[in-house]
Every structure is written in structure tokens, then in C-alpha cells.
């Protein structure tokens, strides 16, 4: 892995800078797109600005940035407007009206570009994938520094987005979460909608020729979605999404250089595609390992919970067996036939109980008995169970046949306080609805 030997600060440095600028600039408005459930509008707008670019080129007859920017913003706003319009008139959902508008505009744009192919190097094949690799070739001088034109433009766009998001933070926030409330507070939802569209269009057009529109679409949606999985606070989500976008872009270029040699190629692969891909991998990582919403942590939490419940059920069962037939010592298999649990997990939990001193194994027979400590713990559970049964019958009016299932679930989530309150509510019963004694509290207060 000697990618750093191929690293050339004046080339790769600028590419990474451009990638990061573009990614962060796109991630900022992207947060609100994702929150307002309009992610695909980012895709639509970034396709639909193509005719705006082409027409601006025809009119101004140059490739200078200002007319292109104006053309793209107009095209972007028209997309949002037409989408809204067709949705209203056609009685179709937003996705369909968006699909109608952006494909039409994109088709017009393609045809215009083909017509303009004589005069301009707007190449259709780099519309989608961009040509980020050629960024360092087009330099402009600022004072004594010579920096790529694209980097300059992307910094400008990033500044615009940062300023817009921080100035209108509150307005964006309220219209993202409760547009109606915003409207009543004097922040008309439609103004915020079109302001967002302007930001999206400006970002898309600035990134268009440099990094291609597919990377912009990826950066609009993927970093904010990843951040959404990691936090519930809007401010943190925006910051996180910027960090993720920047990391994704940097990693993307590094892997574009580093990965091909592993696969036996000696040249690098498409950087913007790779940036989209690495950001996607960051998303998958978050999907799997995000602390609260990640698939793996959730799975582990569920497994731990079910183990705890099973281990509690084991000693509660031993308590009931003792209660019913005196000094009976069950084996692991006796317990398993009642609880329908797996052999291995039951043995494991019984070992855990032995180690924590709640059960002892009778020497030789492999049968288990509760210790005093275990009996106290089990009594708590059985007390919770029977108090709940009593409560369900006397206070909630549930029929006696159905209370066991519910009490079986509730007993594991009932602490001392709740038990005391159940006790009070049911007037301190001594027998449960099935006629079995309710154990007394261990340390009566």
C-alpha cells in the first residue's frame, strides 16, 4: 500500500481539496433535503440544470461562470416549480411529477449539448462522472498564489452555503420539521423551499463540470443520511454530515489511487465515482455500527436482554418448583423442558448463576438448588409476577386465563418502586388470582 509514493501535492492535493469543498458544500443543504423527505429533488435538480447551462452558453456564447450560474439557478427553480405544478394538476405523487420534469429537462439539455458540440467542450460523458482529475490543470492567480479555478469557485459556493445555512438556521429548522408552524410564525414554507432549491442548484452547477453530478447527488443525500443515523440533534447532524462528507471525499481519492494496484492495475480509477463509493461505505458502517440505531448494537442489545430474561426465568422457575414440591432440585434438562431454551445457553446461564452465588450444584447428581441469595432474587420476580396478575385482574379487568402471559413479560421490567405501588393499588394481597401465595418483600421498609 504505497499510495503515498504516487502522491503529488500539487495534483492530488488540489483534487482532494476540490472534492472536500464540493462534498461539504453539498452536504449542507442536503441535510434539509433529507429531513424534508425531498432527497430525490437533489437528484432531479442536478440533472435538470443541464439545459440551463446549455442555454446560458448559447446566449452568452462563453463558458464564464456567471451566466451558467444564472441559467442553472433558473432551471433549478423551474424544476421545483413544475414539480409542484404537475403534482397539483395531475394528482400524481411528488416522485412521479419530479420524474416527468427532470427527465424532460435532461433530455432537452442533452439535445442542446449535442447541437453545441461544435463550439463547446461540454462533453455529455463528463456530465455524470465529471473530470475532477483535470482540476489542477486550470489555474488562476490570486496575488502570488496560483490555485485552480474550480477550487476558487467551490470555495465561493461553500461560503454561500455556510452563510445561508447559518443565517437562516432557525427558519430552515422550523420549516424542515413543521412547515405549518413556520408559516404561522411568519416563515412561509414556500420561500424556504425555493431558497433551498436555489442553494441546491448553485451547488449542483458549481460541482457540475468539476466533479460531475453523480458525486453531488451522493453528497446531497449520503452524508446527511449517515449523520441522521448517528444523532438526533439537528446542529450535530449538520456538523457530522460535513465531517463525513469531507472524510468520504478524502478517502475516495486516496482509494482511487491505492485500490487499483491491489487489483493489478497500475493507473488510478475514477475519483468522483470512488468518492461516492467511499461515502457509501461510511454510510454502511454507520448503518451497521451506529451506537443507537445501528443494526449490530441493536442486535447485541436484544440478545443481552433475552439472556437476562432467560436467566431470571431460570431462577424463578426453580423457586416455583421448590414452592410446589418442597425440596426438589431440578437438572438443566428439567429446566429446559419447561422454558424451551437451548442446551448450551441454559448451561452457560446456570454456570453464571453458580458463579454469582445464586445456585449451587449438588455434588454428583448435576442437579441445582437455589441458595438463599438466589431465593431472594427469585422471590422478587415471583412477587412482581403475582402482583401484576393480581393488578391485571382487580384493576384492569383482564380475565384470569390471559393474565399469566402479560405478567410473564412485565415481571422482568418491574423494580422495587413499581412493586410497592402495585402492592398499594391492589391492597396488599397475600394470594394471587390463581390462589398461590405472593412472597413478601425481602427488605420491608
Amino acid at each position: 500500500m504505497d499510495w503515498y509514493s504516487k502522491w503529488d501535492a500539487s495534483l492530488d492535493g488540489w483534487i482532494v481539496v476540490a472534492g472536500i469543498l464540493c462534498a461539504v458544500a453539498a452536504a449542507l443543504p442536503g441535510n434539509f433535503l433529507v429531513l424534508r423527505r425531498m432527497s430525490m429533488l437533489g437528484d432531479a435538480v442536478s440533472h435538470a440544470i443541464l439545459p440551463g447551462l446549455a442555454i446560458a452558453f448559447f446566449i452568452s456564447n462563453s463558458r464564464s461562470s456567471i451566466p451558467m450560474l444564472v441559467g442553472a439557478v433558473i432551471a433549478g427553480l423551474l424544476t421545483a416549480l413544475f414539480t409542484e405544478w404537475i403534482r397539483g394538476f395531475g394528482d400524481v405523487d411528488e416522485g412521479a411529477s419530479m420524474g416527468v420534469v427532470f427527465t424532460t429537462l435532461f433530455a432537452i439539455g442533452l439535445i442542446l449539448i449535442v447541437q453545441a458540440a461544435d463550439h463547446v467542450d461540454l462533453d455529455p460523458s463528463c456530465v455524470l462522472s465529471g473530470s475532477i482529475e483535470t482540476i489542477p490543470e486550470d489555474l488562476v492567480s490570486i496575488g502570488q498564489f496560483r490555485i485552480p479555478r474550480v477550487v476558487l469557485m467551490l470555495s465561493g459556493v461553500l461560503m454561500v452555503n455556510v452563510v445561508a445555512v447559518s443565517v437562516f438556521y432557525k427558519e430552515f429548522q422550523v420549516s424542515a420539521f413543521d412547515a405549518a408552524l413556520g408559516t404561522t410564525q411568519g416563515i412561509p414554507a414556500w420561500i424556504m423551499h425555493y431558497l433551498l432549491m436555489v442553494l441546491v442548484a448553485v451547488t449542483a452547477v458549481a460541482s457540475f463540470e468539476s466533479v460531475g453530478n453523480i458525486l453531488v447527488v451522493a453528497m446531497f443525500v449520503v452524508p446527511p443520511s449517515t449523520a441522521r443515523l448517528l444523532t438526533d440533534r439537528l446542529g450535530r447532524m449538520i456538523l457530522l454530515s460535513c465531517v463525513i462528507a469531507a472524510v468520504g471525499a478524502a478517502l475516495g481519492h486516496i482509494s482511487a489511487i491505492a485500490v487499483p494496484p491491489w487489483l493489478g492495475f497500475d493507473r488510478s480509477v475514477s475519483t468522483s465515482g470512488m468518492m461516492a463509493l467511499t461515502t457509501g461505505l461510511l454510510f454502511v458502517t454507520a448503518l451497521l455500527f451506529a451506537p443507537h440505531q445501528g443494526v449490530v448494537p441493536q442486535f447485541v442489545r436484544r440478545q443481552l436482554l433475552s439472556l437476562r430474561i432467560l436467566s431470571e426465568d431460570l431462577i424463578a422457575l426453580m423457586y416455583r418448583m421448590e414452592e410446589r414440591s418442597g425440596n426438589l432440585a431440578p437438572s438443566t434438562d428439567d429446566l429446559r423442558t419447561v422454558l424451551l431454551s437451548g442446551r448450551y445457553v441454559t448451561q452457560l446461564l446456570m454456570r453464571h448463576h453458580r458463579m454469582s452465588g445464586t445456585v449451587v450444584r449438588q455434588t454428583g447428581s448435576g442437579r441445582f438448588q437455589l441458595t438463599d441469595k438466589g431465593r431472594r432474587q427469585a422471590a422478587e420476580l415471583v412477587r412482581s409476577h403475582r402482583l401484576w396478575e393480581q393488578y391485571l385482574v382487580s384493576e384492569a379487568g383482564v380475565s384470569t386465563e390471559r393474565i399469566h402471559q402479560q405478567a410473564e413479560k412485565l415481571e422482568h421490567f418491574t423494580g422495587r418502586d413499581l412493586r410497592d405501588r402495585l402492592d398499594q393499588q391492589t391492597a396488599t394481597p397475600t394470594l394471587d388470582p390463581h390462589g398461590r401465595p405472593i412472597p413478601a418483600e425481602n427488605n420491608p421498609s
Binding site: V100, L128, S272
Partner: protein
Amino acid sequence: MSGQRFSNGYLEVPLRPTRFAAYVFFILVVFAAPAVLVAAEAVQTETPQAYRSNHQRSGSLTDRSVEWPSWTQWSRVLLLKDYNTRVVVIGTSLLGLAAGTIGSFALLRRRALMGDALSHASLPGVCVAFLLAGPLGYDGKSLPVLLIGGALSGLAGASCILVIRHLTRLREDAALGIVLSVFFGAGVVLLSVIQQLPSGNAAGLEGFIYGKTASMIASDARLIGITAVVCVSISLLLFKEFVLLCFDEDFAAARGYPVLILDVLVMLLVLLVTVVGLQAVGLVLVIALLIIPAAAARFWTYNIRSMIGLASVMGLVSGWLGSVISALFPGLPSGPMIVLVSSALFFASMLLGTSRGILQRGIRQWKLNREVDRQHLLRGIYEVLETRIGEVTIARGRETEHVSFDTLMELRSWTPRRLRRQIARSRREGHLIGTDTQFALTAPGLVEAARLVHEHRLWELYLITHAEIAPSKVDQAADAIEHVLGPEMVRQLEQLLEKHQSVDGVANSPHALR
């Protein structure tokens, strides 16, 4: 609006001719299309390879100028004289047909953008198929191999969408965006790998992005034909189930239909059309063929049979016309042209459509406005007269007293122009007579005015007695509804409010008149 919706088809018994037309259509597609293709092959005049070298220009993205084609060119293309034009035109038309049919279900299922995500997600599969085909001993450029790869990665994309939607709290739109951009990014990376292969010539693969209709050969068209037959026949066979799935999923589940399987089947059909359409219009625009004809058809009808039929016809027409135009004008690539033709159809439908069209709605609104003005004017004059005379009934059978223009102006917030126009119209109808400033109701005008006032007051009374709205508020509320009260409704109201009827058949106003 809902009143009109009922009269426009939801409650109509499905007409025999529609079903008959559907069967004829189906038979045509099933038997005629392959027959045409076979015939096309039989009279082949140019080999595909020769054609490609001769006509490579048409449809490629690098052409520049648009020249008006000569008459012979017109006739050659329109009469399908060239073998290759024939193949391309038939292929794209059948693709349009299949996409229109399946797109209707996708649209009604609110899955329109799913096709977009699927088409982008198919790119890495196409590339992987190209990379693997060589070593595994297949032809890396044969379309079926590439399309199978595309379909597989499209399926992977669809599963990712489902996983993201079900395992996280992200919404469907974010899931679509993520899958679309990340898969496409992977595809772009793979494309750049293929371009660097010493043996690799990725020119054929880039055609999948923007479409490369001109290179379509008979076997490709036959593939599209088979797809069309499969799509249309499955849609016809499972029509009832699909419709139920689109409109009332829960009911379908309750009736015991395998909703999940049907849903997956619709998705598979969408995937099939998307993947097959890649070559014709490219992965960015193939979604247009699915959505636009279906969305356009919605402007013409509320009946799902007609909608799907219309959508398939529109898809067929746009495929046909788009490829014909592209064949005639070498500077116009066919993929975008097909999309533009369907967009043109869409906007025409949006404007002229007979059920939701803008023009239709405008006319309906305009008629309603005129009717409302007419009723307001007559009722206004009646109530002015009533207040003037007091409790006494207005004498029937002859003209009434005169009411001045200014008095009427004060009644409502209408402009003098609007009021004058309505007065002129009522005069023509024979309800009003008088000079420019003074008017009186004629005998028939009085009868009509009395009827309108009666309806208005019935509704007011209903609101007071049954909806418990304050008498001072009911005038406004009744204003909103009285114009759409039907005779049946009026009869029911009269029965309900019998005791309030006064001697002359007009209910008394429950509130003070201004």
C-alpha cells in the same frame, strides 16, 4: 370536484368495447410483433454490421448539424423501408408499450422513482458482467449477458432500498438517493477500470448511460418484443390483483391475495423494463418511459383500464415517433428524442386532458363561477325586495318592483364590471328587465329567484337546527354549499325541516336580512 369524479367513471360499469379493445390489442402485440420481426429479418437488405458502419451517425452523441431530410428519406423512414430503421422503430415502440403498461402500475403504487434508482443501480452489474464474461468464456459484448448482470445488480439495489427502509428510520426518498448515487459511483469506478483494460473497449458500455439505439439489432428488438409480450400478458392476467394492490393494499391482503408476491412481481417487471430499456434510451432517461406516459394518461381518464391502455398507446407512440425523428434528423439522438416526444404528449395531455386537463378544469371553474354569480344576483334582488316589502309575500306572476344598481353593488364584494356582465346575461335569459340603473325580476325570474332563496335558507336552517351553527354565521356557510345542492338534496332538506316552510313555498330567513 368529487361530484364530478363520480360522474366521470368510477361508478360506471366497465364498457364491453374497452375490454374488447384490450383483447384485440393484446392479440396484436402477442402475434403481430414477432411476425413483423421475422418478416423484417426475411427481407433483410443490409447486414447489421454494414448498417452500423454506414449509419453510425444517427443517434450518436457527437453529431452536430440538423438538416431537413429529403422526401425520399421521409418515405424510407416512415414506411420502414430500411431494415435497420425497421428494427429500431419496432424495438423502441414495443419498449414504449411495455413501459407504459408497467409504468402505470408503478405510478399508482407510488413507486415511480424506484425505476430511477434501479436503472442507476444496474450500471455496476453491467460492468461486472463485462469484466467477468471474458474469463468465463462468454461474449462480453452480447446484450443478454450484460443485461443479466444489470438485472442482478438492480435487484441488489432494490434489496438495499428495502434494507435501509426497514432497518433505519430513514425514509424511502433517502434510501433511493443513497442506492442511486452509491451504486452509480461504483459503476463509474468500474467503467474507468474497463477503459484501462488493454483488451477492453468500453465504448459499448457507455452506450448504457445515454442510450445507443442505432446499434440495435434484430435480436435486441426481439428481446424487447419478448419483454413487451411478458409485461402485457402478465398485466392482463393479473389485472384485477394489480389494481387491488395499487388502490387498496390492505383490502387485498384481507381477501387473501399474496400482496408481497404481487408487489415483488410488479417490482420485477419494472426492473425488467428498466434493464431492457437501458440500451434504447440509457439509464438516466429510461425512467421517463415508465413515468411519463402513465402520468399523461391520468389527465384523460379516471378509469384504470382506459388509463393503462392509453399509457401503453402513448408509450408506443413516443417510442415510434422519437426513433423516427431521430432517424430523419441525424443530429438528434434517439434516447432524448423519445423522452421529448413523450413529454410533448404529456404536456398536451396536461393541457387538453378530458378529466384532469387544465383547460377542462378552467372551463369547469368558469362555468361554476358564472352559475354562482347568476344565483347571487337573483337571490340578492329577491332579498332586497323582501326586505323592502317586509313580511308581505312578493306577488307572483308579474314583474317585481325595481332595484337600483347601487343597491346591488352594496350586497356583495363584486366589481361593477362583473355585476354588469351578469345583469346582461340574466337579461338575455329573460330573468331581468330594466334600464342600466334600475332592474326588476320578470315573472320567470321571480320563480327562479324564489327557488334559489328557498334552497339557501333550507341549508341555513339545516345548519342552525342540526349542525348548531350560530344564526349570524350561517349565511356565509350556506353561500359555500348552496350552488351545488341537487334536487334530491333539496327534497330531503325540505322533509327534514318541514315546519319552517312558509305559505308561498319560500322558507323564511332565519336571520335578519341586510
